[in-house]
Symmetry: C2
Amino acid sequence: MLRGSLGIVTTQYADLPGPFTLESGAVLPEIRIAYETYGRLNKEKSNAILLCHALSGDAHVAGFHNGETKPGWWDAVVGPGKAFDTERYFVICSNVLGGCKGSTGPSTINPETGKPYGATFPVVTIRDMVNAQKLLLDSLGIPELYAVAGGSMGGMQALQWTVSYPDLIKKAVIIATTGYSTPQQIAFNEVGRKAILSDPDWSGGDYYGKKTPAHGLALARMVGHITYLSDESMHAKFGRSLQGKAQVGFDFSTEFAIESYLHHQGDTFTKRFDANSYLYITKAIDYFDLTKDGSLTTGLAAAKAAFFVISVTSDWLYPPYQSQEIVTALTTNEREVQYCEIRSNYGHDAFLLESGQLNYLISRFLSHTVVGDVMARNVECIEEGTTIAVTARRMITSGVNHLPVLSPAGQLVGIVTSWDIAKAVASNFLWLDEIMSRNVVTTTENEPVDEAARKMEAHSISALPVIDGDSHVIGLITSDAISTLVGRQNP
Amino acid sequence: MLRGSLGIVTTQYADLPGPFTLESGAVLPEIRIAYETYGRLNKEKSNAILLCHALSGDAHVAGFHNGETKPGWWDAVVGPGKAFDTERYFVICSNVLGGCKGSTGPSTINPETGKPYGATFPVVTIRDMVNAQKLLLDSLGIPELYAVAGGSMGGMQALQWTVSYPDLIKKAVIIATTGYSTPQQIAFNEVGRKAILSDPDWSGGDYYGKKTPAHGLALARMVGHITYLSDESMHAKFGRSLQGKAQVGFDFSTEFAIESYLHHQGDTFTKRFDANSYLYITKAIDYFDLTKDGSLTTGLAAAKAAFFVISVTSDWLYPPYQSQEIVTALTTNEREVQYCEIRSNYGHDAFLLESGQLNYLISRFLSHTVVGDVMARNVECIEEGTTIAVTARRMITSGVNHLPVLSPAGQLVGIVTSWDIAKAVASNFLWLDEIMSRNVVTTTENEPVDEAARKMEAHSISALPVIDGDSHVIGLITSDAISTLVGRQNP
């Protein structure tokens, strides 16, 4: 499929009438939400996908703003022929409430005072952000979402959507995130906030039109960037290289390439982001906790969507175990859920960078994949009625640990493993029929791969024979094959 | 063995005549080193152990200062009957050059100006710290070290000692550290330095007698503390608990217990540590790089000591792979080296906290441990001349995967595994003697366990029969037993 660019796109603004009551009980008299849309809403209004952005993101998810050379933040997976295929879906993204990219936030003029809210802006939560997005959809006449998706804080919003508005969401793609912020995540955010609050230029949050707390905000961003990269990717990208010099200078100037990179990231961030929004958005992240009575299973009980949860092997900010907790909770609730761990050295940033894997995985999920797409078609089998000795020889020769057993007519009648052979020897059995297992878990060519993966997990087996309507073995699907193609399935 | 306290101890000071030339070429006219010693130097002067401290440590490693209730920083492993047994060894610890706990550093009065050095203090390196320690030992009349040991930056100094003064070191204990600082480590240090340098109260380093850059130093310490703990230990210690309130307040006050903890750590640190020393010591850590021509093997070529390298499973600041690189380099150089990965959830801080494991491991290394100390004494065997069927049954019944084979006289003549059984079936063998391996790798009761572990690694086997002088099997040592007792041996 050809993948294209959306070309020039523009941000729009929705002024949504208030009062807008927040989770804290505070009320905003009115809110404005900045958003972009791509593709076309079909006449059934059933193809809308909402994308949710992370801490420093905005509504500009794909395509180019007029005169700019850098595309939107998730252009890699949004556009014609990409995972979020704008030829098929109507894609929406909005700047979060509390942000500084066109939506109402601390830098917005308070209509009651005529001055920026600053530190008088009420604390908002992920749920508040989602409620604001719901109002936006209402104003656009979108009754339901085919899917909601996001990574990092975007994943939190997507997860919140499935709980806040379970009947409106068909599918949810939850990437590199958690069901609740952990103390380590809170700790890093608190360091960032402390850096801003300690900057004398923060001035109690009332710095608009004056010198901004750039030192504090840059420092916060530097800490953030360390957590977005992995140890491996830093090794690969920077190592111990020096920036613009051949030897260390025994002074406190910027010397190592990694220092130069962090300074640059910190400095450029201060030119595009508001320090107060950084305070409010990190606070919303810290407050995020979908557990109820200490249980994520209970907290996610209302969700009805089909889920695709994706984590990244080298992500230490939102490690895979946190995604797996979401999967476990959803599985316990008997919700439809697929899980994949993307193999990547990029760390948390992989959710923005691993476009190949993300496009493959997400488009597969948004469409569909079955066993026939990934099974092996040449399978070593053994005939019913042979001896243990022949069976063992077949096993050793072909280097496999299990053999499907076929009837003379070629139909599957059992399966045998090397452990069965050892037991046979111990019990003086000579014939295959005395030891093979007759209850074989099987799958079919048209069964969804996630269903097959779930069977393997439930029975603690690593391979399933694929049979046709006449019980002929037409293939074999292994957990290895699944993980090679689509990452590890189910934790 | 009874473990006791050193009781009251005092810090001493050595004024060492200069000029002291630094790695940078800069010269200090004179240096003072603060130090403590415990135990007694034997008349051969062969029992001295130098302990090296980490970033924020000092010379006060064990016992109590008069009137204080908190013991020295490594009291858990230093004292009568402990790993660094002051009944046997003469233990020395000194504050690093560049520090602020009695040794010459940026807060010291520059004799040439009569004012504190401040930012005019020359940048020092780990090698400079070690050279200053060498001068101290000279002044104390200690010609060589039985051992040098340290964790984190202390481990860097210990490693540097083995390279700078290879003929003076018998044993080295290198804990939770690296052979060179990585970009991630540099990044965290740079954030800390940036926090201090951005604090207006830093005043170009000339703040002595005035307001100190406490905000910046506290922030640096907060970042540091996150890296010293593990995700797991933060979960266990803080979770999402709130500090002194039942519900979140939707404001920016200190709310979560983890925030309160970090603030406390940051604040108390500013009362005991000098911000300039923080700058200089982190810079020394960043500069630390024992590789030569890109190779740690080459960089460690001069070392002659017997090494014990210890890492911590949950340490993500100095992850186990970095210790393993040291081990690999030393092994390649055919140096004597043992490796152990401490199982702990404490993260980097485990090198201060896991006193049980550390006392066991280090005292074993400083003294000696042999196979007889850790082997299993009841071993399932099989007699030569039996059938495959009997052998398989014995295996299944006893649940083991390998059986030593004995002659009628009870001497070890071979070994058989379940894989051999499968091969026997495949080849129609009936008798044990046709399939058993006759070249058995063995060990003896008096062989050092690390030697046995090395054999297992070299032959890719997980157990060794222990035989006596008559080839009778008197025990079995497994890699599991070793790792249960002493952590994982050799990377």
